[in-house]
Subunit: 351 residues, 2 copies
């Protein structure tokens, strides 16, 4: 359920006028901006953008970008955009605008969003950036991930004398192509969304996954096939069968491998499984890791709160409280500050 | 351009009645059926199906299936369905209903259809078969393609003493995962469809492709990335740069490898490039190979004629005549017979 508190009947023109007023003169009245846009849903925000454009022949998004700054500006920018544009921006930042791409975001969108929602995000991405999500993932993963294939290359080319001793280990290393194709496959697959599931397939694929994982054959193409193409309903059944038959969740078993060359790929697999099994629990974990003693990863905090505020942030808050014995509002209060904090708390449902 | 000849103003009810009459009594009047449905476009056929259902409380598609037989029935069945349902049926037959899957069809749909058309086919496929195209490709490729990975397994596990001599050869063999992910990637990628292209990328990716192909490094992840994710406009530019710089087309260079284990994957790559570069020339080749001295592959002939009749069959006929110095109509007359022949000739624009 949504956390934002918004009045049913609002006047887009009056809202636009109030925002304009908050932006004029010396300094910006951030509190006034928060009090308006923090209490409007997607449709209302769209109408405000339109009214603002009509009244002042100016793009509200650009105006807010120039008036605000820091994490507060980033959060407002994402919030004021229409949801699919916002998702396109978040994906683009994650894939192309960071020194190290954040593939967790790709997995999040691919596995938590419905195929139709994902498709709408892809359309918005193409319209905005003139490339496809898939080609950007594929292209921009190159540099970052090549280190995984480096291990394979090293063992096979420079140390041929080691092959006999190390061959079984080599087989466990995940080639670059598998990882990249896994990510592109996840983002590309238009999954079946119906409720139909095949119990026999769930049993046999749980066994296939277990055989591959217990022998550390992570490069097994069956893992990629099952996780990247099956419907969510089918996959959840498979994961449940896995737990029933083998006493522990697949994500726990994936932790058994400590090979550095496999680390990122196995993390991607675990993230995928978490997103599919329990999105709210996954988001709770993202926020928990983003706010710790070493500092705060505002990008992740903003992403979760802004993208989920009108969807299931209420449930995420409950999961967070159960797991941490502290409310998410309190955690946000402790780890953020200023207008940014005030804005996030507003989206979390504080009046 | 379309080849079918159809009157602008038709009466769906009268057509439905005439078809009903042709199906009643002893024997079926196939000629009457051809004279109606062979001269109707997609919209008209849809209205006939609706009128038939309303008038006789019976599904026209099922009735025709039970009245007709052989290749003629298969062709009529595909023709009478709405285009996206027909595509779903053709894809399903190619992936799941044959002893050896025909991946050429997957590549055809993935590369020749626009992303929106492909998406509509995927929706029809899900509605009809309750699975996604991607998971069926991934699942049903397994048995057939495992022989490719068998080579790798054989060299690495059973003949370790051969590794030093054969390692470079081993590296050239394409693992199963690469092939399967290539097909799933092709079908999954929602390509960018705009006209924007990056000339610098076209140059550099032509070089990347050439380096991989000239060193027979077909397993290079860059080949898969470039071919399965780039927009058609961008890929055509890359293929042209390749030809400009290296004097020959990439498909010719892909023929240089004679390794049996790579055969199918390289064929898939060549098919993909042909579909992207020149769809009409590709379809001409499919028909030419389908009608030769050893016999006729009616499934392929039907597929091309039925799916292209309302699109670009006129251009395909022209390409066919230029290449073979015989008209496609004449070739069809020589290689097919009976009602099947009469029906195909009708779709080819014969009165």
């Amino acid at each position: 359920m949504s956390t934002i508190i918004y009045p049913e009947n609002t006047s887009p023109a009056a809202d636009a006028e109030a925002i304009r007023k908050a932006c004029q003169g010396w300094g910006t009245d951030e509190k006034a901006i928060i009090s308006i846009i923090g209490h409007r849903n997607a449709t209302q925000k769209k109408l405000i953008r339109q009214a603002y454009e009509e009244l002042y022949c100016e793009d509200l998004v650009k105006r807010l970008e120039s008036e605000l700054s820091g994490q507060f500006e980033k959060a407002v920018y994402r919030w004021i955009l229409n949801p699919r544009d916002r998702d396109a921006v978040i994906l683009h930042v994650a894939i192309k605008e960071r020194a190290i791409p954040n593939y967790r975001v790709v997995i999040e969108y691919s596995c938590i969003y419905s195929p139709e929602e994902l498709l709408a995000v892809k359309r918005a991405y193409q319209a905005r950036y003139k490339t496809s999500v898939e080609e950007d993932i594929a292209q921009y993963s190159t540099g970052h991930l090549r280190k995984a294939s480096f291990f394979l290359f090293f063992f096979l080319v420079f140390l041929p004398t080691f092959i006999f001793v190390a061959w079984s280990r080599c087989l466990c290393l995940i080639p670059f192509a598998t990882y990249i194709q896994f990510l592109v496959g996840l983002a590309g697959t238009y999954r079946y969304v119906g409720d139909e599931l095949n119990a026999r397939v769930a049993n046999s694929e749980a066994d296939i996954l277990h055989n591959a994982i217990s022998t550390k054959d992570f490069n097994n193409e069956e893992i990629v096939r099952i996780i990247s193409t099956r419907s969510t309903t089918q996959l959840v059944a498979t994961l449940n069968r896995y737990k029933d038959h083998y006493g522990s969740s697949i994500t726990k078993h994936l932790l058994d491998d400590t090979n550095e060359g496999n680390k990122e790929y196995l993390l991607a697999l675990r993230t995928t499984i978490r997103c599919i099994s329990d999105p709210q629990k996954y988001y709770e974990k993202v926020i928990r890791y983003a706010m710790n003693e070493c500092g705060t990863d505002e990008e992740s905090v903003t992403r979760v709160i802004v993208t989920r505020a009108e969807k299931d942030l209420k449930e995420i808050k409950e999961v967070y409280y159960k797991r941490n014995s502290v409310t998410l509002d309190q955690a946000i209060t402790n780890h953020t500050s200023g207008n940014y904090k005030a804005f996030l708390l507003t989206l979390l449902g504080n009046e």
